[in-house]
């Protein structure tokens, strides 16, 4: 059994246990728990990062910029300004005297040099403490340079990663509504919450194009400022990664009356449902027919490819620990499609409804955890005899150290896992990890073998 901190006991649940289901979540991480979460800044940075023609400058000491330089596999079809790292690199004197002048000068020189369509200024912890008026500096530079310069209030200590999502959405909201929308079709959407990791937005965009639905903007995968400015013209917001983007979707609904639906592009079932939901929303017969034929075509192509993987993977056990819980739903289903069983699932930022839904989805005995940490995760992996762990970079060494397969489903991934073809990639990656002969040499598998011999 895992050694769980007293303060965290109510953040771990085993389906089927006696107690009524109640999982504490959306709490500040317990001090000393070695949470896998980052901070408010991280939340903002990951959401806005893929906007490729904007300048992203981190106002603070160098660390926050260093650790987020070229961190995501968010691809761009054009400019790649987002892959550079800019920081005011505040020094001791800037802390004493305030960093506004330095920020002003940094913004001016960088805008002159790179001619971005907009600039995002990320406030880090100490900016909130020394009281720099980042908003005023942004306003001034915006006036002088004639582009939107948007403060992102992402001081690390001011909440959790989710508050960072909100700060990013607030910055985006300032852009939406400032572009022309005359040529926007009534059959149009914004793709919210896909970040074009390994080109996933392109895959999804292509499905919508084939359906005859216009994509006004992608927020923020392969993102462009001018597209985001036109986002209010879309007839529907299609929200993936609801943890980060629901705030924006709700705000757009309040302000512009744009309805939104939640979707997921992972796994065949969820992918198909996403397209059908969009088609259904428009109630257009032709769109629906085209959607049906896309889904049929893609399934016909995909299913035979998956069958082979399924044969090998049936009965294997998986654990999932991801940032947002919504992704976990799709992963449980996708793994089930491959014949695999999810024995542990958790997220950094899930909410009550998310966990309730997860509980319904999962088998008896499955462990559900909110805001977990390496010690808990490692005991879960050991106890449940997991074959493959699905998570991000920080989870990878936990699995590998124990001789357990791993699949990166986080923002650093280099394989597209969304869409129909993404499901095949996912299956191939899980298969490639689970079936590798290297595990036979690890103490975990060897000790099992020895026991059998005895």
């Amino acid at each position: 059994m895992a050694d769980i901190l007293r303060e965290r006991e109510r953040q771990v649940y085993r389906k089927g246990q006696e107690t009524a289901f109640q999982l504490d979540c959306e709490k500040q991480s317990v001090a000393g728990s070695v949470s896998q979460r980052a901070c408010v800044f991280c939340g903002s940075r990951v959401v806005l990062y893929p906007i490729a023609d904007a300048l992203h400058i981190v106002h603070g000491p160098i660390g926050c910029a260093s650790y987020t330089w070229d961190i995501r596999g968010a691809l761009s079809s054009g400019p790649e300004l987002h892959r550079l790292s800019f920081s005011t690199d505040m020094q001791e004197m800037d802390i004493v005297r305030g960093g506004e002048k330095k920020l002003y000068a940094a913004l001016c020189e960088l805008i002159d040099e790179h001619q971005p369509k907009a600039a995002f200024v990320y406030a880090t912890c100490i900016v909130g403490v020394i009281g720099d008026d980042v908003g005023a500096v942004c306003k001034r530079v915006s006036m002088e340079k004639g582009i939107p310069v948007l403060p992102v209030h992402s001081e690390g200590f001011k909440g959790t990663k989710k508050d960072g999502y909100r700060a990013a959405c607030d910055a985006l909201l300032q852009l939406v509504g400032t572009g022309p929308i005359d040529d926007v079709s009534p059959l149009s959407i914004n793709i919210l919450g896909d970040f074009n990791l390994a080109g996933e937005t392109w895959i999804i965009r292509d499905y919508y194009a084939r359906m005859g639905v216009q994509v006004v903007s992608c927020i923020t995968g392969d993102g462009r400022i001018d597209e985001i400015r036109r986002a209010h013209g879309a007839a529907l917001n299609v929200v993936q990664c609801s943890g980060s983007m629901t705030h924006l979707a709700k705000s757009l609904k309040d302000k512009y009356g744009i309805p939104f639906i939640r979707v997921s592009y992972f796994g065949l079932e969820d992918m198909s449902n996403s397209l059908y939901d969009v088609a259904r929303h428009f109630g257009n017969k032709e769109v629906m027919q085209r959607t049906q034929s896309i889904v049929r075509e893609e399934l016909d192509r995909t299913m035979p490819l998956l069958a082979e993987y399924r044969r090998a993977l049936t009965g294997k056990r998986a654990a999932i620990y991801v940032g947002g819980a919504f992704k976990a739903f799709s992963l449980v289903s996708a793994l089930r499609l491959l014949g695999m069983k999810t024995v542990m699932v958790g997220s950094q930022t899930g909410n009550k409804e998310d966990y309730e839904q997860l509980r319904e989805l999962c088998d008896e005995g499955t462990i559900i955890a909110d805001d977990s940490n390496p010690l808990e995760l490692s005991t879960f992996l050991e106890e449940k005899e997991v074959d493959v762990f699905i998570g991000g970079v920080k989870e990878r060494p936990i699995a590998y150290k124990l001789g357990i397969g791993f699949c990166d489903h986080n923002h650093e991934r280099k394989e597209a896992l969304a869409g129909f073809e993404g499901m095949v990639n996912f299956a191939r990656e899980v298969y490639g990890s689970v079936m590798s002969p290297v595990w036979q040499l690890t103490p975990r598998k060897r000790s099992g073998a020895l026991e059998v011999v005895r």
Binding site: L5, Q28, S29, V30, A31, G32, S33, S35, R37, A38, C39, F41, C42, I57, P61, I62, G63, C64, A65, S66, Y67, T68, W69, L84, S85, F86, S87, T88, D89, M90, Q91, E92, I95, K102, A105, A106, E109, T124, C125, I126, V129, G156, F157, K158, G159, T160, P374, L375, L381, E382, V393, P397, I398, Y400, K401, L402, G403, L441, P443, R444
Partner: protein
């Protein structure tokens, strides 16, 4: 002979206010790494949760090992009212979960800026837990707005030694029988190599930090809460009893270090030598070992040296006059410059994000023997990668290759030349933590790598494709 360190023309815009593609990380990262090199210890950052998580991720991507760093997880309330409660709760939770022998606490920009009295808080914590078996607590001040990860590393080494060092009251059974070795931020393979050298010289050493096992361990059946290995706490207490301290790093001359502290307070002689990369700097290391142990260098190392010189001769034609841009942590850059200069390469630009104030002088010292470099080396402290790119264009450095951390990969790609990955961090290759840089053996590997990289370029760009080179 004129100085080999030339003053280059200024870059197009020398006064960039911003840092663009940094060649450094922040101070607490270095401190966390040091704490990972103490036996039974867990690093703890006093600040926002994100700091710990980001640094874990950065270190994990290099070492490819679990790297647990605890955090006091600052909230808005702790920022306003102080983080004492968070620190105490964090220490308690880390203790109950990990059962560490030591918790190494480093501050962050946030806690430094709001003026947290960590010393006082820890005093209070110790009082509260008096009589209980709580772990040793050490702390280091690492404001991220001051210096780089290397400063955080060196400050942590000094702080830990300062806080744990105990003088023997009576007769000291260890007196003079061993040596403290403070290697600086080197690879796990470098650390293992240094232990091997000391063992071969027959002298016990206190190598600090020592993350050779904690961050490069074997595959496990059970998850180790705190991986085995690391400098024993008892050994850290006994540092004042050493016969001498050896400290690697020419640029440390401007700093208060662990070795200088032990010399000043406990009269432990400090030997500061360059990071032993290449023959000249390795000779100085073995000479120091000979001097301290009064023993000759074991035959095996002389054989390594002999083979290395033989290899230098075999490869010299492919290298002479080749131009390299060197970047990374200051002392790594100094060591690499020394090595490159002795094999006939010109390190045309030696740059670091660090600002010790001693980089130019150190480079000058280690390249003065190489007349082919005369007046051709530019040295830049506090540089970032976009400035390196601009200076490279403006000064027509025309490098044949880059050598340094993987953060230079973009630049190498833009320049169309190979990057030889050494030092820290290496985020885009496997095995960065296992690169051996030090000693004749390390130089042999670096040498083969450099020559073969250039041969590969030559072969790939040849229309003939020679079978013999």
């Amino acid at each position: 002979m004129s100085s080999p360190v030339r003053i280059t023309m200024s870059a197009p815009k020398p006064n960039w206010v911003s840092t663009r593609n940094p060649c450094k990380a922040c101070a607490p990262l270095g401190a966390a790494l040091v704490m990972r090199g103490i036996e039974g210890a867990i690093p703890f950052l006093h600040g926002s949760q994100g700091c710990a998580t980001y640094m874990r991720r950065y270190l994990i991507s290099h070492f490819r090992e679990p790297m647990d760093i605890a955090s006091s997880g600052f909230s808005e309330a702790s920022t306003i009212f102080g983080g004492g409660a968070n620190l105490h709760q964090g220490l308690e939770n880390v203790t109950s979960q990990y059962h560490p022998g030591l918790i190494g606490i480093a501050t962050t920009c946030l806690t430094e800026t709001i003026g947290e009295d960590v010393h006082g808080m820890l005093h209070e914590y110790r009082e509260k837990n008096a009589g209980l078996n709580h772990p040793e607590l050490v702390h280091v001040s690492t404001p991220s707005y001051s210096g780089t990860h290397i400063d955080g590393f060196n400050n942590a080494v000094r702080s830990v030694v300062e806080q744990l060092a105990e003088a023997f009251a009576g007769a000291d059974p260890y007196a003079g029988n061993f040596v403290n070795l403070f290697p600086g931020m080197v690879s796990t393979e470098d650390l293992r190599f240094l232990k091997e050298v000391a063992a071969d010289f027959g002298i016990p050493i206190t190598l600090f930090p020592d993350y050779s096992e904690t961050l490069d361990g074997p595959s496990m059946l059970k998850y180790e809460k705190i991986p085995g290995g690391g400098t024993p706490i008892a050994a850290l207490r006994a540092t004042p009893s050493a016969g001498a301290s050896i400290e690697f790093g020419r640029t440390l001359r401007t700093k208060n270090t662990a070795a200088s502290f032990l010399q000043d307070k406990f009269a432990v002689p400090a030997k500061r030598i360059g990071l032993p990369i290449g023959i000249h700097e390795s000779d100085a290391f073995y000479a120091t070992m000979e001097e301290l142990t009064r023993k000759p260098t074991p035959v095996k190392y002389n054989q390594e040296r002999g083979r290395l010189v033989d290899a230098y001769v075999d490869g010299h034609k492919y290298l002479f006059g080749k131009r390299a841009i060197v970047f990374g942590d200051e002392d790594m850059v100094v060591g690499l410059a020394s090595f490159l200069a002795e094999i006939g390469v010109v390190p045309v630009l030696c740059g670091s994000g660090g600002k010790s104030g001693a980089l130019a002088r150190s480079i000058e010292e280690v390249t003065s023997h190489a007349s082919h470099c005369n007046g051709q080396i530019a040295v830049r402290e506090g540089i970032d990668f976009m400035t390196i790119a601009e200076e490279t264009a403006l000064n027509e450095f025309k490098p044949d290759f880059l050598i340094g951390s993987s953060k230079g990969a973009k630049l190498a790609r833009a320049l169309g030349v190979p990057l030889i990955r050494v030092g820290f961090p290496i985020h885009d290759r496997i095995g960065g933590q296992r690169i051996l840089h030090l000693g004749y053996r390390g130089a042999q590997r670096l040498f083969d790598l450099v020559v073969n990289t250039l041969l590969e370029v030559k072969q790939d760009s040849s229309s003939i494709g020679y079978s013999y080179l």
